[in-house]
Symmetry: C2
């Protein structure tokens, strides 16, 4: 993919018709850095993830979306994986070094129907960095 064509990834997402999962990245996270650090650690993680996803050859199976505070400030940087009908997960202790594992782990999550990736198939950053998980919302009564 031509990195000079920033609109392409959005087209790919829309055309795939199969984006059931979302990777939220907390872009306000300081991750212990000084408040004046610009860009913030969370923003750097988000941008590194988005750049790396754009460079991949295959169509993305999940969206990368900015979030403002996932309330996991003590163990940021933080991301959340979610999707309709799926268990949602929050992961912490992340940084720019986590990008490749994050993309791989999110792809495996997106390939499930319920969000439950077998333990041994989860990247180490997910196994040791899980903060919490939430069952899928039941259908309204």
């Amino acid at each position: 993919m031509d990195p000079s064509a920033p609109a392409a990834p959005q087209r790919a997402l829309s055309e795939s018709g199969d984006i059931a999962a979302t990777l939220y990245v907390c872009v306000t996270c300081l991750a212990g850095e000084d408040r004046e650090t610009v860009p913030r650690a969370g923003r750097r993680l988000h941008d590194a993830l988005a750049d790396a996803q754009r460079r991949q050859d295959e169509l993305p199976k999940f969206r990368i979306v900015e979030a403002e505070c996932l309330s996991n400030c003590n163990r940021g940087c933080s991301v959340a994986l979610t999707g309709p009908g799926r268990w949602s997960y929050v992961y912490g202790d992340l940084g720019e070094a986590s990008v490749d594992d994050l993309l791989a782990g999110a792809s495996r999550y997106a390939a499930t129907t319920d969000g439950l990736v077998p333990w041994r198939e989860r990247p180490a950053i997910f196994r040791r960095g899980v903060i919490a998980r939430i069952p899928p919302s039941p259908s309204p009564v």
Copy 2:
């Protein structure tokens, strides 16, 4: 409500047609207790919540549902509040003493459309016990 009629709350839930929120309670939580303690701390919290909700006069605005492990084992007991189109929250450091505040906080959550209760209207157990939050799932592309 007659406490001798255990089926009534379920009928109330089904008939209300307005149950948009779910309070998940981790019933497997040990909360630091010995593994042999029966019932477990999480089970006791769930049952106390369900009993207290049944004793309330008004129709419940949220469901109380058992969950197996919310992956917040270091700060259990744990609950999660979630609902379609809403921010989801995980709370920890809870116990049977939290029941009344939990029911009040969950009712306020259920009364919102986006899951965002103003900070000052959240019970103290929510303000100090928040573990993480997750934005609502965007609609599939």
